[in-house]
Symmetry: D2
Subunit: 364 residues, 4 copies
């Protein structure tokens, strides 16, 4: 079944493989009248580009986005925005060997199980390159949120056993790991150096905080804001865990300590005194900061030898050649931000018809 | 926007509030020819019924399900199955007081923020009673899975700080907490007794294991099996975290230890030697056990005094009267199982048209 | 696959068979704050009730609707509204005979072909009784439209060869055939009397006019307003044709005569001088009256003998006993109106997020 | 809201405007293992290409399709197939004049009303060029149907007042009007010559017949096969009417003459002796030929002078310059075929999970 479309009202459809002609996305349902240029999108794409640090080596491509439709006179027209990035570095390797066996931790086996065969060149559709479409679309969603005064901050919370303890927002763009803590970043470098030395790889945690989100977003029961965020984030390859607010710590807390008391602020608005809820109560945004976290598994592509089977069902040992980032997490930061932005815009639009007074006010 | 419908092909729509006439669900897309009786569904509902233990006191209702449509001669007809449970214990309290303030940890505030007012009786639509529809529908999904040889085992993995360490499947139904470990259950009882004594409450973790799931379920990119499970589970009230397989532990692992090697079994089938993936690779089931976990926050309704504001924006202290289970987790076990079953049946149906040979074989 | 749910934002899910416990509908996505009572819905249901004229004899039921959820203090809460009508006149006949053969013009054969068996009692899910859910939901949609100043007028345009030529809105409720032309109604009575005399039945055309619909509703390409109306109306059993505005006459017109010129009215609004478009240009409402028509085939249940096969594949002649309305069209009038109202509310909600200025205005 | 995606399981998303960089479509949900080349798609596109007859003059483009993703080793992989046609003849005109007024019969006014402004170059998204995506996707759907032994034949049934009376399948590709009747084609030429002489245009009717469609396709109530066909066909610009089988003639028929009797054929299969139903009973295919018709309005672009208003709300007379085909119908034939094929493949896939025995048989 079709699985490459996400969203109810702000809908994106991604396409493309690692080694085809390119990757792209169609963004449909974007409100008309948003000023949008290729530069707006390129800024986001540049944040996920390979080759930007010693820890994310590899593929030498500029990943330049082209807007193919949906913009006129510098503004969105309300019709589908088609975005494409051509693949350039895609014919440089021989994939015949990789075609013959199943890489541990990859989707080679499951694609074969599902479809009977697979596009084995660079992981095909299950390549990390698929996230280009998400990030390009997310840049548009983020621009809408910015127009509405909503801001998103996303960063690396932990790499392997190294967690951040300080938070300096300026530091996020100051180190190659997108960590808001320079000391932790230093320790993470050392950890990654060890991984590289042993042909191994590391995982980590990405955290995302959304400020100024209005209360009321999210639809009760199945289209809850946290449920849709969970789906959006878990649809990113390599994610194994997802949390809102207190997350798994909630399981060991007690009600008295975990419940966030309500009070009023200086302008007599109702606010919470704490934010264990992470900004969502009953699946609906509560006006506090939205806080989410995603756990990423270690990059499955490693250069150390591994045991697996080939397509003749023979046990073999493989040394996978090619690009091997010891860590995917810093490049995933912008993907998490994109998926969050996409989910929030969709939730915002879904909420616009929630009350009769909104309809009556609209119809003037 | 409509948020009470879930599923692509096996679609459920729930309705009802805590203190209305009843709660129910319409299950649409159930294949014709499944033998189904009210007893099949009642068995599941009985697992979530209040009043079954000293730790889940309260509401005295039998929650008897009635099948209103979709069955003929004891079999599903392929048309919508409408299920209803009448509310019986719903007029016993005066909710005027609760209407005047926002309970910490509840959705009172966010429903007001979204809709302008709320059905304050017993939490209205955000009541735990809403899960009756999920469980009733899940019973049907579970029966389909059973027909296909797929089995689900769900249990309490942890309550507050007490984690299970042993696993005895028979013990799950042997204690009031649905724990597969009698020693842990005993310690959890003691922990809960302390919570009750202080008017406090506890959270916990539910784990679910699915056996015999075929490889190939889940659609790449956005309809990934884990993404849809994440949404389904996170749509349950009180869930704050979700994991597949190694979950958050993956973030601290390295690629070498986390990658599951492939090998062959005695029948020459390709299997994994370990299961950190939790049965899903690239969003597609890999034939191993599917393993998921959900973290539940402590029950927000507690009898200890709490600070909050009333609807005049005045700071007050409240002592919430009424039923207060110190723990919701044991009753949530069957809800997690239901949501898992619903997601798996939908994924199974979505996969049926994935290959031309399936179509050609079907069309004979 | 699930086929009983319609709508993107204003979503209805119907359930129930002719001879089960009842029929119903869940309306999800209704904006909060709409005053709604059972009487609002009953008024619509009464318009489709059998036994109201000499030409629609039969089933003696009051079809009393019960609201099961979604209303609090006389207003919609924004959560699902569950409506049910119990079947009362459902055990009066022996359906064993009908079970043994395929009635011409009915869905007996196709339900068997699809599902392997069928609920043969009174047509099961393919019974006209299924429209109760549509009409009940449509009553809610119509009340929303009324709040917005949008009005719908639906009537019988033709019965068999008898077409209306005059239009008197008061006459519609003045005759048993819902015709806005008393002379035509008289001729139609005579035509129907002849049909009854020969055990035969008649078809007809229903027309629906919507006034005061704002321009801008409908989404380009696939969610065009006319496309969604076409689907909604064609989902009514017995419909064989659908038109907007000039309809099939457009095929024989020329561009010069068919194009509606634009001009301005007294308030300097842009209007069309004619309305061949029927209120829709490019799939989007243009502010003129929306005009649609549906052709209904003659009632397939007739008392005259017919040739068919039984389930042993033997050729037989049948005389179908029981209720046989010679005409279904007058009862279908309110069904067409309901489906139109449902489609328009959905289109109205879909349009609310179409422009950035709407979002910015909403977010204050 | 997003309106450029169609289909439940076999899902297409089109994008692009008349004078942007190109037009395209993403086809998602195509089963893996279908042999597919650009030639397969080009054959369909060539059938809608402008400049192929004296009656469809104009735009000189080859409309060459490029497959950007989803194919590996000449077969579909099960992942999204992205198709693009570059616009080449798109900068040849000055559209400033057309930007200043509303063309009668076009969507200029409604796009402005909806979005606040419009891409006025060549009609933007409401251009007939948008159908390229539909036809390209339809070519894939048609190839799937062919694999299943299902064939579609589509042709011009009438042009203006000239209806075909004979049917010679070979004649369809033998005249420029796609009519299966050479005598009618001759008379239609003469009619069109008159239209051209007066700067006027003509409409017409397209008919489509599908053979060998299995019984059982279509989901009861809202996803009926005829309802989805109605939506698909009515989403084509310029369609004003739609019929299945007897269509509007059903309204004047009687039950006795309209009901199709059942009998058995030589192989003891149940068949209908007539086909007024047009192959669909109760929204489900009955195994007979599927027959549908669409009425197209006359091309709104004509060279004769017309009255309209400009964007200063002044009444003006316009002589629209540029390409003016006197008839759009022959080019719409392949669009109707494409939309039919897309709907049928989706219905086929939706039906695959309709019975438990199908599931049990699949899971081997």
């Amino acid at each position: 079944m079709a699985g490459s479309t996400l969203g109810n009202l702000f809908k994106i459809t991604t396409w493309g493989e690692s080694h085809g002609k390119g990757v792209g996305v169609v963004v449909d349902g974007c409100p008309a009248g948003l000023k949008l240029s290729e530069e707006d999108i390129q800024k986001f794409l540049d944040r996920r580009r390979p080759g930007q640090s010693t820890y994310t080596t590899a593929r030498q491509e500029s990943d330049t986005v082209e807007i193919l439709s949906g913009i006129f006179d510098g503004q969105t027209t309300g019709t589908p925005i088609s975005l494409m990035v051509h693949n350039k570095d895609s014919h440089s390797r021989d994939y015949r060997e990789i075609a013959s066996y199943y890489r541990p931790g990859h989707a080679d086996f499951t694609f074969d199980a599902k479809y009977g065969f697979r596009d084995y060149r660079g992981g095909g559709r299950s390549s990390g390159r698929e996230t280009i479409g998400r990030v390009a679309a997310g840049a548009i969603a983020a621009k809408i949120l910015t127009s509405l005064g909503i801001t998103i901050c996303t960063y690396t919370k932990a790499i392997g056993p190294v967690s951040t303890t300080a938070f300096d927002i300026n530091e996020i763009t100051n180190n190659q790991l997108c960590m808001p803590d320079s000391v932790a970043a230093q320790r993470a470098y050392e950890y990654l150096d060890k991984c590289i030395a042993t042909g191994d790889s590391a995982g980590g945690v990405v955290e995302c905080i959304v400020k100024n989100l209005p209360a009321g977003l999210g639809e009760p029961v199945f289209e809850k804001l946290d449920a849709n965020l969970a789906k959006a984030i878990f649809s990113i390859g390599a994610v194994k865990g997802f949390e809102i607010g207190s997350g798994f710590d909630a399981a060991t807390a007690t009600g008295l300590s975990h419940n966030d008391d309500f009070t009023t602020d200086a302008e007599n608005n109702i606010i919470k005194t704490t934010n264990n809820a992470g900004g969502i109560l009953g699946g609906i945004s509560d006006g506090s900061d939205l806080i989410l976290r995603a756990a990423f598994k270690p990059t499955p592509s490693i250069s150390a030898p591994q045991a697996t089977v080939n397509n003749c069902h023979e046990n073999i040992t493989v040394n996978i050649k090619g690009r091997h980032d010891p860590i995917i997490v810093p490049r995933a930061v912008v993907v998490v931000e994109a998926m969050t932005a996409l989910t929030l815009v969709d939730a915002f639009l879904m909420n616009m018809g929630s009350r009769m007074d909104y309809l009556l006010h609209f119809d003037k």
